[in-house]
């Protein structure tokens, strides 16, 4: 029996690849397996090759696999583009209709199933996906009832007949392939799962759920890949909690509307990707200058400009850290797991109110859209901290104004909400005094700048870094952020098995940079590799700038639109450790 397996389905966009994947993985989730999904899609709705890959495991996993065990193909293109990933002895389940051919030189087993023919016999080619997935499910020898339950849920709202037909399609597909194969394939029998209930979701779902439970009641946003699911989830849920999503005319409105709502006392957010983030820059400065809480999610995708809108990248880091003119306090945090996506949103809203400044939560396409198993989320960890929000303040004297920007020891001033009688004050993006009135006084200017920028001196987030560091003096320390953690984990273990003392550090607090925490791990490492999905090594630059480690640091970058694979990280790291060179690893 095996403890993990990779399954992929490929076809034309709009052909049912998505729904097949959804049902297949829901059923696996019910059985208790750990899953990690990867979607390959392009910027069009119908047509064009698309594929979804799921890694199935009996233990937690956070990365895609290097290879593939089973490929379900609706067309020859899906075979041609993906068969090379199959490991020796792998399986292709393909529609007999297009007379599938296995590329030369591959040692794989082909099952040509009359997918379209069976579907058409049942009434329409729409049942194709169920014939195909039924066939591949049967080869794994997994219980059909669980699969049928997932089918029922997917199609239940379309009526009993549709459900019945789909279940029949599953049955016919599985029957056909089992006859051909002579029963489930013994090499593909998964060990039973641990039976622990898990959630199965994408990072965007987890973030939207986190925002909702953090008390976010208004989201203003403009649709963009790969952020839109956050908005879509909240459109569904917010009405149940009295709130709403406003689809604004652009991202400038999205960010400034969220500022208005936060100013008036509601936790409000926006979410976008690179192009939208660029449009929000002036608003981010306004939030910083007026000390208004603001939460922005940036789901990074391939840049610059429209770039690779449906592909993986981590190249907005500099824009998030340095973006907006002038100097403001700003926090940038980077969830590195699906669970983080949830808890970090709660923390982001707390930080925004506690430090009264913009907070950017950075993810990347793979973390935002990759569907994966998530530990059951803990209600008791939902803590809401609104910082120095004051209510029922004493009445003001005539012409008196509330000191909204009072100079305090830690720079954080009391905040009142409009509607409060004793709280009248002015807010402006112009430099201002303690009651918010414009001021050009040089002394005031300097004090206000120091007050605002000083606020983050006391900043502490839940986990600024996460270390998997078994060694005091490692041969190599691999540093990453966002979705790359799982891949580095796997590479680390492989290097360790070969005798290299390897540590792994994930940086979660990107800005302000957690120098002290990072130093603890970089100081004793012989070599450091900083791994990131961009061309110029933006995270590496942060390390060079903030931690004294330039001489032993190597930047490992990838910017072809695809995530790092475990094998690739392993072999490049090894090459580096072996050669002991400090050159940039060539791509």
């Amino acid at each position: 029996m095996i403890n993990q397996l990779s399954w992929k389905i490929g076809g034309q966009q709009g052909e049912g690849v998505e729904s097949t994947d959804r049902i297949f993985s829901t059923a696996l989730n019910r059985l208790g397996y750990y899953l990690y999904g990867y979607r390959h899609f392009s910027s069009r709705i119908k047509g064009g090759h698309t594929n979804n890959k799921i890694r199935i495991s009996t233990a937690p996993i956070r990365a895609i696999s290097d290879d593939l065990d089973i490929l379900v193909a609706f067309d020859q293109e899906s075979i041609d583009l993906n068969a090379h990933e199959l490991r020796s002895g792998g399986v292709i389940v393909a529609d007999a209709k297009f007379k599938p051919a296995v590329p030369e030189g591959l040692n794989v087993q082909l099952f040509a199933v009359p997918i379209t023919a069976i579907a058409e016999e049942l009434g329409t080619s729409l049942y194709k996906n169920m014939v195909a997935s039924g066939a591949s499910w049967a080869l794994l020898g997994l219980p059909l009832e669980v699969f049928n339950k997932a089918v029922e849920e997917e199609y239940g709202r379309k009526g009993a007949i549709v459900v019945e037909k789909n279940i029949e399609a599953v049955r016919r597909g599985s029957q056909f392939v089992l006859e051909q194969a002579g029963g489930p394939l013994s090499a593909f029998q998964l060990e039973p799962a641990d039976g622990v209930q898990k959630l199965f979701m994408i990072g965007n779902d987890a973030m939207a759920l986190g925002a909702l439970t953090a008390g976010c009641r208004i989201m203003s946003a403009y649709p963009i890949t790969p952020a839109s699911e956050i908005m879509e989830y909240l459109i569904k849920q917010l009405p149940k909690f009295g709130g709403t999503v406003v689809q604004t005319e652009d991202e400038i409105a999205a960010a400034t509307m969220a500022i208005g709502s936060n100013y008036a006392g509601v936790r409000a957010m926006t979410a976008s990707a690179g192009p939208g983030l660029s449009l929000m820059m002036e608003a981010i400065g306004l939030a910083g200058m007026t000390e208004t809480p603001l939460v922005i999610v940036d789901t990074q995708r391939g840049g610059p400009s429209t770039g690779l809108p449906t592909k993986q990248e981590q190249s907005d880091l500099n824009a998030m850290v340095y973006g907006t003119h002038g100097e403001i306090p700003k926090i940038v945090i980077a969830p590195s797991s699906i669970e983080d996506c949830f808890y970090d949103m709660i923390e982001a809203f707390n930080l925004a109110e506690k430090y009264q400044c913009p907070v950017i939560v950075m993810t990347d396409l793979q973390l935002s859209l990759g569907k994966q198993s998530c530990a059951v989320l803990d209600y008791d960890r939902i803590v809401i901290d609104r910082g120095r929000l004051v209510r029922d303040v004493p009445e003001l004297e005539t012409h008196g104004q509330f000191k909204r920007y009072e100079f305090t020891e830690n720079g954080i001033s009391p905040r009142v909400l409009p509607g409060e009688k004793g709280g009248l004050h002015h807010v402006t993006g112009v430099e201002h005094d303690e009651v918010g009135r414009p001021s050009e006084s040089a002394i005031n200017r300097q004090r206000m700048m120091d007050k605002r920028l000083g606020k983050l001196k006391s900043l502490e987030i839940r986990k600024a870094v996460v270390a998997d560091a078994p060694y005091e003096e490692p041969d190599v320390l691999i540093i990453g952020m966002g979705s790359t953690g799982g891949t580095i984990d796997q590479a680390r273990i492989k290097l360790e098995q070969e005798g290299w003392k390897t540590n792994h550090l994930t940086i979660r607090q990107i800005h302000p940079f957690p120098t002290a925490q990072v130093k603890r791990y970089t100081e004793r490492a012989k070599q450091i590799i900083v791994l990131e999905n961009n061309a110029t090594g933006q995270l590496a630059d942060q390390l060079k700038l903030n931690v004294d480690c330039r001489s032993k640091l190597t930047s490992m970058t990838k910017y072809d639109g695809t995530p790092f694979l475990p094998q690739e990280v392993y072999s490049k790291s090894k090459e580096l450790v072996l050669n002991g060179n400090l050159q940039r690893v060539p791509q």
Partner: protein, 288 residues
Amino acid sequence: MATFKEFRNNVKPNWCPGCGDFSVQAAIQRAAANVGLTPENLAVISGIGCSGRISGYVNAYGFHGIHGRALPIAQGVKLANRDLTVIASGGDGDGFAIGMGHTVHAIRRNINMTYIVMDNQIYGLTKGQTSPRSAVGFKTKSTPEGSIESTLAPLEIALASGATFVAQSFSSDLKQLTALIEQGIQHEGFSLINVFSPCVTFNKINTYDWFKENIVNLNTVEGYDPSNRIQAMTKLMETNGMITGLIYQDSSRKSYENQIVGFRSEPLAQQNLKISEEAFEGLLKEFK
């Protein structure tokens, strides 16, 4: 109840003596008192420009934002606390150039708030460049040979965008302006009030006298019916927009907030943020 004096603060405006914006300030203060507001329940959100300074000159909650973005900020405020009376305000450049996109969409959205534009047909704060409201041929620093772009007709655009309240006034007519702001505040939905507010320093063409000569008060137009959208559009086109008074009002359409399904009828800002464990468990179900 408060008197208009309670909406005054002790800040001296930095406007040039004679600037039209003084009257807009006074009219907001009077209208607020007349409709029975108190300072803490009024939020004045403004853009950037000479006119944008107005949020600092009214004793209320004031938010002076960024150029062109008064409207989205103001809409965010209103959605967060629907008990507040929200007035957005700014210049013609603010609302009809850099912020034009927001203007049209705020009109379409129809959130219950009032937008007052101080229209001086020029950029005052940046010392006299052409504005979308400048006449063709108008010579400014940025159009030394005279403007060659056509003049924007914001109220016609407003009507075409589905506005439910469109009015225009003139700084010299404090009485009419105050009354229109009161009506705007009381209107359920988005009210747009464009105010001819002369810039005495940089606009030597569109002066107080020029407006007095060229504008027609709709009060004097017999049979004018502000509930007739076609008539409103025709009148604006006929007069090149040189009319004052209530041009159009549609009282039948509900405001945005009153149409959102599930939207809380009490201010969201006063809601308890933490959800129940039961509700949370319910949310997790979808992902099992």
